[in-house]
Symmetry: D2
């Protein structure tokens, strides 16, 4: 961390600040210039609050050089993490995982039917929303516990581990008992109370990037879960909000190599929410695999126009199957299996 | 709502869609063009899910004309709402409210001291964070229940109603019992489970706009609270996230007249989070009053460089007092009192 | 185009508007509802100015259904365009083109040297900036005419057609005479006077997407060139500006299938400017090919740390060569050659 | 400027870099840490290209502390600049200027008529577009030289200096001869060739902020004009592009105090383009004045629904007059005249 002090900072203020930083266990180097004094902080600065230093009226700027996270950091944990989800493993050294299923669970038969089609196409996990975050209070809010039961039943019928989104901490017991991979949605990426609670369990967490959160904030949310005791975090990019309105969101494909450089966590891509348009899902999915993604989570529905939510971005099973076949070929040429 | 069907839509598909819409109680007009068929939907479309219609493969586009909210809408409730917060009233027809206080509660003496300075400067409510949403799990997370107690004590000493942020539904009882205005922070604006629970109480809610949420999404979050039974919502703009990094966020000053046109709810502005820089707070505060804001919520701290959070954007009491005096003059020339 | 009139629009105003639209050669259907009157406009609306209609005080909203462009539109010209650049053809039905070269031309020897390495690696065109748009007036502004001469010389030595950026209309003669593919940079995407002049020549134009321009605005800028007489436009996505600061820009990979659906023009990707970081260029390049891009334009420099501009995003020749080899394999599995 | 070198940087590379920086006239301090070596650069770094240093593979990060501009900087020129436009002076110490007029010049009579109404309302300059940047090549492109003549005639009739937008360098003579304040529009803010040419004249320039340009880039564009010899620059904020689509752009009101802190140049606000909606213009105008703006440029049209461009954001003369009266009162309470 580099702290720059203003030109006319009194010596006494300089010393006060230096003393307070040294007391926090940091080593400092001081460079005196004509316009600025520069303090270089050496040591573990991950627990230093840069905004607090910035508040000092003699501080011109504070620049962090080390990353503010530790447990999620590649430098702290150089090997790729492998996360176990039921009988499936997720990670850089593992086969690419394909997760398919409807946006919302709509019933028991429907889930079994789609689960079989997902499995048949090459999918290895089943997604389905039982608790649904909807912009409007008047939209369908999910089948809730009934929906979770439909998912469990579909797992029993097909063996596919199940992924579903949690929206509040009071449902953690239900999810721990029933769900194999607990999803934190984009809107809850900085619901820190929920993250802390999910840090106390050991089920794997699928942490989606927030609508307008930076890569660093996203990793910090993973750090929340990990710092509370749960190292089993899979990151999921689902598009960010930009000025462009043609697509629902803008997929930031460059996060794939960035996450792999900065962290040891697996990263999967959600092309359905990223684009909001089923016609774009295949191209974006292949792009993600080519860029090194460890998996895809894709909305699949037999009858998109009747879907209770997000039909416009759902693939019919035959299109999903064709996509998986193409993704497998791309995976092979970039040195992965699927 | 206007639905455009693709050129070659089979008659049977057209009829199916029309039938399904009519069954939802809507009246339709059908215009046949060369390239498109256009369906105009008349009636209450606030409960129609446009994304679901969009999923129909024969639908080219769906355009909403009526707003998707009802209880928050100015057309449903033409008079300005007045929200009672302790002994203070907030609304278009009421005096402008000035809320001051530290980002984080740091102790009992400190809160009483700042509360007195806020009151002395002309503030009518006291803010203070006891539960703090922090990007890093290693940053100070708030004094929690102890912090709420310090706030209550400061209210007893000064008579100022107190505002504090809630981060999870399990604390609602504590907030209902102790806090006068319950704040939902930007990161929880779409924590729908929390919003639903806050709809079941009747304490007033200060609903901050999310980092990257549209005005419509923000009003829909107010609608969540109102649809669950609590009409006491005050909206708070605190800056949105843009490409500009010089300021912490970008204050969208135009939301003030927009919220007043679209809804009947009061709107207040948070210049401290909007700018992240105490030097900009006064200019932005005066701008907000000139544009018609019903209030300001401003961070005040005796010793910003020692603040446990957000010191860089906190005003010292004497600057806060000077700001209130100037804001009063601007209020008067735009026909308001303060 | 769908025009919605406000509830209380006087009949006389309705008739005036309908009459004025009919005079512009459009056919109208009128649907009377309780809250709104809806006018459906049939015919060629590409020359109707929707903002002008919006200015009518009785108009609630104007929604365009047909696209506002014509010559660039896939529906107007269903077959893929093939653009001839020197001896190279660019388009959906042609081999993928790889363009390599330095950000800035730095001298004659250097250009010949890099040109040979680009060709050796599999590149089919040479890029190089002679006129440089730089944020600072104090940064190197390009070798100008000398730079163009170095490019021409490198073409003579290698046979590679050359691509260079034009910054002002007064240089068009120089570019027509010397350059094979004239690039319009992101900052000039809406320099309409330049676009009009480039429409009067018949050299192919490489039109980069602006920093914060929508897909529709970008296509409209192509339309400017085409409407002035030059159909030879190649589109180039180079990342858009978002809130994320980790990368220089955010590559919008979904534009590849969108451009192919909406237009008949070729689209190539610039992973160097999109990311600003050479470590990310390979992953993003492979993603672009997998998503269907018709080409890549990549910065290559022998000695990036000595590059006169944009060294941080330049690949060394050996890395470029490795990238092309991988891109070839990805191209094959998505049914293209390279 | 602070340069951080990677941990394992060889001594020889360190020395090479230090030597090259010293040769550019800079003084350096070197701090050796465990993870990083930190170089502090003292001296005039405004001409150092930080991206070029970043390209060195041993460089971890480059952080600029001094601003990259000089002539526009408040520290270089502490007093407020006063810019003379015809008989009007613009600056922090001068009366606030109100500029009114139509988006597009539509004829001689119309211009004289509006000019009189602008003057009558308290306006001191007349705006009007003769060359129009339009997204569509099929939209009205302006009356061009005829339009400039209409503006000149309106000046003769009213004495108001005239403001008009230039779109290409080949029209500079026409503008120098006829126009009092030459506007560079948002889309040309980084048309560097145009900026350089405008630096060679001494007419004042109204430099609008680009759609998605940072404050620093905007000041750098002013620096382009100033570094080429023309110190007469007035900055104009007209809203930036964000994810919010309700308004045409988002006015960044905080730029007013920021520009005043960082530069000595006057800043005026364009509420018409910032909002795109005449109903919002008054509130946003008063906000700008309250925040310290040195002027407003507002679209005024007698008959907005017949305006040839941007009618939706134009005020009728009586509304403009009412706005000016209110703005005057706000100006007074913030210590300015108008």
């Amino acid at each position: 961390m580099i702290i720059t002090l203003k030109r006319k900072t009194p010596d006494i203020e300089k010393e006060k600040l230096i003393h307070s930083l040294e007391q926090q266990g940091l080593r400092l180097t001081v460079s005196e210039g004509i316009n600025f004094t520069v303090l270089g902080l050496m040591g573990d600065t991950s627990k230093i609050d840069d905004k607090r230093i910035q508040a000092n009226q003699w501080v011109e700027s504070v620049k962090r050089i080390d990353v503010p996270y530790k447990l999620a950091s590649r430098s702290f944990h150089p090997e790729d993490s492998v996360i176990q989800v039921g009988n499936v493993t997720v990670g850089q050294s593992e086969p690419i995982v394909i997760i398919g299923g409807p946006c919302s669970v709509e019933g028991q038969q429907m889930m079994v039917h789609i689960a079989k089609e997902v499995k048949d196409a090459g999918g290895v996990m089943l997604r389905g929303g039982a608790y649904k975050p909807r912009t409007s209070p008047y939209s369908f809010q999910g089948m809730k516990t009934e929906g979770i039961k439909c998912m469990v039943n579909a797992r029993e019928e097909t063996g596919l581990p199940i992924v579903s989104e949690i929206m509040s901490a009071d449902k953690i017991d239900e999810f721990v008992e029933n769900v194999d991979l607990i999803q934190v949605g984009a809107r809850n990426m900085q619901n820190f109370e929920l993250l802390k609670e999910l840090g106390k369990i050991n089920k794997p967490i699928l942490l989606k990037r927030g609508l307008a959160n930076t890569i660093e904030e996203w990793i910090m949310s993973a750090e929340y879960i990990m710092a509370n005791g749960n190292p089993n975090v899979i990151l999921c990019e689902r598009g960010i909000r930009t000025f462009e309105t043609y697509t629902r969101n803008t997929l930031d494909v460059s996060v794939i190599p960035i996450i792999k450089e900065k962290t040891h966590l697996p990263i999967i891509i959600d092309p359905s929410h990223a684009t909001g348009d089923y016609k774009l899902v295949e191209a974006v999915s292949l792009a993600a695999i080519a860029a090194g993604a460890d998996g895809l989570i894709i909305e699949v529905h037999d009858n998109p126009e009747c879907a209770w939510s997000d039909g416009a971005q759902s693939l019919k099973p035959e299109k999903f199957k064709a996509l998986v076949a193409k993704a497998r070929k791309v995976a092979e040429v970039v040195g992965r299996t699927l």
